[in-house]
Amino acid sequence: MPTRRPPGSAPGWLIGLLALAALLAACSSPPTPAAGTAQPGGEQLVLINKGSDTMVNLALAWAEAYEAVAPGVTVSVTGGGSGTGIAALLNGTVDLANASRPISEGERAAAEARGLIPVEHVVARDAIAIVVHPDNPVAALTLPQLSAMYSGQITNWSQVGGEDRPIVLLSRETNSGTHVYFLEHVLRLGDNEQPIFFSPETLLLPSSEGISAEVRQNPNAIGYDGLGYVTPDMKTVAVARAEGGPFVLPAIASVTSGAYPIARDLYIYTAGEPTGTEEDYLGWVLGPAAQAIVAELGFVPVE
């Protein structure tokens, strides 16, 4: 039954259309001001902070504590990976980029091509823990063993003193600073000229939670992650630099003394020397209150 519209309702259609057009116009709001700089528009200053997923909890805890120290400043924190943060710094969309690896030569060149000089600040240290399922009998591995496992030469746990099970390799995605650090310092044992790669069988998981979830339930799995992300329901493996060396578990003391072999610095990058709000914030981050938060979250304080 086709319904016939009374003639009077035609202008109603028109009004509806016009209203729709007005609504659409209202939706396409004017472009937001460039997020790159702290806006002194009101009394509230905003520092935009993005990058390393390893550091995201730390950065959030800092941002929260800093609000009590300097009530006029809001630090807005997001993750995404070290590469993401540095790319955002280069594109001018953030003030501070968190990175769990030093900036690469390519990224530095790209920054300089845009007239930016990235400045590095070491804000904490982190140990990368090797984690396995709690039922896995393997408790200690050497760096060469880890390298052989992750490059696909060792594929069964029995080859490193475990049960007869296939090894399932877990890694973070390639945009993670932890991934790059692990490639350079564990797979290639610090010699970046070596053509060693992650085995194509390596599962690249998009989050730390992905690695934790798989390690908790799969006795075949081995993974790595920042010490701050290790929970008691995973087993941490002690690591030695080489065959016969002392096997060390990651902890604040063993990282500070340099005994634990897989530890690194965590950075915040700024575009150029920090000034004003950025300088105040970074000064506070390196101070005792912020470094106490570092220790609280399972990372290792600097100085």
């Binding site: 194509p200 599962l203 690249l204 798989e214 339930q217």
Partner: protein
């Protein structure tokens, strides 16, 4: 007379608006293709052609082999359709032809609600609940595999498939069924030989929409397939991790510097995906068109 004139104007505006809306669809597809080509084609100049057909995908060191990604998408999509087609068509036939009226009125909205589940929720469920189950039941090294991805994608494609296929079956005139039954066909014969073939075009559209959903889905796939860029060769590949094109773009696009080699290659991956879905649509269109021609011949 005045009333006539008043009615003309709004009609003309509405007509122009509808026409513009219709053409805009073509315009958008054209713009998307243009953008993909503009951002993706430079990759062919920057990366040697045969390197794009390599078997190693490791972009941070300049390895841009697309084959593992294309293979990954194919494995997951084919797996999803193998699961979704029997279940989806079965459900559609049950709802349209067999279920009593009350069950039908309950089932159809329920299935459609299922279509609204956010994919990240499904992905999380898959990661923490289904992957461990797949691993223990099938005794494979890890449950984060192409199979887990296929099962979840099938789950997401089924509501679309059921909804569209059910509408198509519903549109088959009752006289067809009556005629078949009058000729002594059983209920099953009527469904399988008369109703489903008569609704073939709509059923095919349903399957293609399902394929489209499966090829393009990202979040779920990224969470449960393990994302290992290995070459999926042989039947065993269904039970191993894979890396799909969509997951690769989603995982890596945030990291790349604008205009870099990696950035261009990711757009090339997008271009390949676009071509894939274009072929699927074209194939569906060709089959539907051919069928219509035959039907027209018969009727004339």
């Amino acid at each position: 007379m005045r009333a006539e004139a008043v009615r003309r104007w709004p009609e003309m505006i509405v007509e122009a608006f509808i026409r513009a809306a219709g053409y805009s669809a073509v315009l958008f597809v054209g713009l998307i293709l243009f953008f993909l080509l503009r951002e993706g084609l430079p990759a062919f100049a920057e990366v040697p052609f045969d390197a794009l057909f390599g078997t190693r995908w490791y972009p941070i060191e300049g390895y841009y082999g697309l084959l593992p990604l294309v293979g990954g998408t194919l494995v997951v999509t084919i797996g999803a359709m193998l699961i979704a087609m029997p279940f989806g068509l079965g459900t559609a036939i049950f709802i349209a032809e067999i279920a009593p009226r009350w069950a039908r009125e309950l089932l159809k909205p329920l299935v459609e609600v299922l279509a609204g589940l956010p994919s990240v929720v499904l992905g999380f469920l898959g990661m923490v609940a289904m992957a461990p189950l797949v691993r223990t039941v099938l005794d494979v090294p890890t449950g984060l595999s192409a199979l887990s991805g296929s099962i979840l994608l099938a789950g997401m494609a089924i509501p679309t498939l059921v909804s569209v296929a059910e509408d198509a079956l519903d549109a088959v005139p009752n006289s067809y069924r009556d005629a078949a039954l009058a000729l002594g066909a059983t209920r099953w014969q009527t469904i399988w030989r008369v109703t489903v073939p008569a609704a073939r075009t709509g059923v095919l559209t349903a399957v293609m929409l399902g394929v489209g959903r499966a090829i393009g889905e990202t979040m779920t796939v990224m969470m449960v397939t393990g994302n290992a860029a290995r070459m999926p060769l042989g039947l065993a590949a269904f039970f191993r991790p894979v890396r799909t094109m969509t997951a690769t773009i989603a995982a890596e696009m945030g990291e790349v510097a604008n205009g870099s080699e990696h950035y261009h290659v990711l757009f090339t991956v997008g271009l390949v995906l676009f071509i894939f879905s274009f072929i699927v649509n074209l194939a569906a269109g060709a089959v539907v068109f051919q069928q219509r021609k035959r039907a027209e011949r018969l009727l004339s």
